[in-house]
Symmetry: C2
Subunit: 338 residues, 2 copies
């Protein structure tokens, strides 16, 4: 039904190979290029990317594998990646695995079978075998946000430890000694690092850590809400609270509202991510922000480089710095208990 390169060749009265060469940017005689162009228009010819891919074994498609699409961090990742890769002619195949490690493996295999040219992967557990197989087939993978242990792989992430360090340090300097943290599950890379920052700054300032002020959430809003409720309504509750991702920040704020705690009078607060939203709260939130655009852009450019065959410095581990945006939710504590 649709016109093929043969039809174009016939219509333009040139050889197939000539048309192919022209389509791929090769040099052909001026008059031939004109006739080919005419033929293409006349026949409404579209190149069949399937046939081309079969021959070249390049699909010009990259897979993006994420734990979830339903959070703001993932969304901006996808959006940015798509736009950068598109410019380079690549399509973006999306998979999310709903934070489910069974599904994680399945979708990794699925993408692998789909003949992608490369992959951006934000692991949950981190499916090492699947990853190695992909790499074994010559498909470059760039990890984003989270590293996987025992695995040689390009990785772009943020300096989680110092992100926490800086946030908690700010609270300490303001005089807080009982600082609560609602963190992600300790099985997740980022959460573990963020926790370490919390501990380290306590150590550096010789402040003892109260385990009651530490909770492992699920990076999800509802759980964080309940955990915040519990922690903040217990006796000896913290004078400041630090929450380590956006969804949990919302959950914690909801709890704070429900408990009628005033920020920063009753409780100092530092949240995470989403600058835009932080400003609509009253008072505006002090938060840790990730350089999302830069992370994604770096990862995408690295992947493009690898897909071109450039293996310089493999495996690269790139760490980006977060920023602590100081607004109005941190103040001196009311009572100074050591």
């Amino acid at each position: 039904m649709a016109a093929t390169i043969k039809d174009v060749a016939k219509h333009a009265d040139v050889g197939i190979a000539t048309v192919s060469k022209y389509l791929n940017g090769g040099k052909v005689l001026g008059k031939n290029s004109i006739r080919i162009d005419e033929a293409i228009v006349a026949l409404n010819y579209k190149i069949n990317s399937l046939a081309r891919s079969l021959k070249t074994s390049k699909t010009m498609t990259v897979g993006v594998l994420l734990p979830s699409l339903e959070n703001i961090f993932s969304t901006s990742i996808v959006s940015k990646i798509e736009n950068i890769l598109q410019e380079a002619g690549y399509s973006t195949l999306i998979c999310d695995f709903q934070e489910d490690i069974i599904l994680e493996k399945k979708k990794l295999v699925f993408l692998g079978d789909r003949q992608i040219d490369g992959m951006i992967y934000m692991p949950l557990k981190g499916c090492v075998e699947g990853l190695k197989q992909l790499q074994g087939n010559g498909i470059p993978v760039v990890l984003i946000d989270r590293a996987i242990k025992n695995c040689e792989c390009d990785t772009v992430l943020i300096d989680n430890l110092n992100a926490s360090y800086e946030a908690v340090e700010h609270l300490i300097i303001m005089g807080h000694r009982r600082i609560g943290i609602i963190n992600g599950p300790d099985t997740i890379f980022t959460a573990e690092e963020r926790m370490r920052g919390y501990y380290r700054v306590h150590e550096d300032y010789r402040i003892s850590v109260d385990q009651k002020l530490i909770v492992c959430g699920d990076y999800r809003m509802d759980i964080a809400y309940e955990q915040a409720m519990k922690m903040l309504s217990a006796k000896n509750s913290p004078t400041a609270l630090y929450v380590t991702n956006y969804e949990m920040t919302l959950g914690a704020l909801m709890a704070i509202n429900d408990l009628n705690l005033k920020i920063p009078e009753d409780l100092s607060f530092i949240g995470f991510d989403n600058l835009a939203l932080a400003n609509i709260f009253k008072p505006p939130l002090t938060i840790v922000v990730q350089p999302t655009s830069e992370i994604v852009e770096t990862a995408a450019r690295l992947l493009l480089k690898r897909m071109k065959g450039n293996q310089d410095g493999f495996p690269e581990l790139i760490r980006m710095k977060t920023r602590l945006i100081k607004k109005n939710t941190v103040d001196k504590p009311k009572t100074l208990d050591s």
Copy 2:
């Protein structure tokens, strides 16, 4: 390098056609199926979906084309679509066009050239020619959230008019007569419908409309912020405000905060979308919520049906109902000016 179906056939000592038939669920002798299975494992054979697609001209890929990925509505759309289609064996190719009508057309063409089997499309302007061409090639398209005029196409959207009607009616019943609306740009289908609902309820209750209380925003937060600032700080400002999407709801709330207006004492407020977030505000927001899951599920199932070749009832126009969630941001107005 990788094993082909020929290798499998040779290893299993059967014909190529037999292997192919078996792989596609056809009947083969028991002993043959065992030997083929063995061969597949032994050679680590993976079917080459490219070659298969070339032959069958089915790519098992659907395109998803959206104005933007950076808002909560789009995100849940993508996530749901991906999961439903994946179950049916389809991959999801994502494109967003950054609310840019030039890019919209370009990406539509891009997806068309990529030999997708179907498409979910949330139009901005609505690129009719591109759409018709796709359909002409036998590729089903399901529009979501927004219809396109003069275009025969399956469409799944919400009853925008009655969404607004119901929200504004609620305000009217509570006694409000000066009700502000911050709406999307009137070039956008949903915004136009939502506006019509605003007018109609005013008409039905014989309340005259003050054009000063109507603003066309951009469905974006920053613009809405400024527009809300202006409207609410003008004299004769409204006693109630209705905002017609999520991002603008945030922007308006930010303005309300900055103006130190108390909700609902100084101003009644109805927002849009995102139930989860609505609850963390203080007081919890009265909002209009869309049945996002149902919309997407309906659209995805419809697309699957079309891709199977079932053309029953084409073109279908499916409208879903919104719900008005009444919380604590609507009260009687302080002063009753007619």
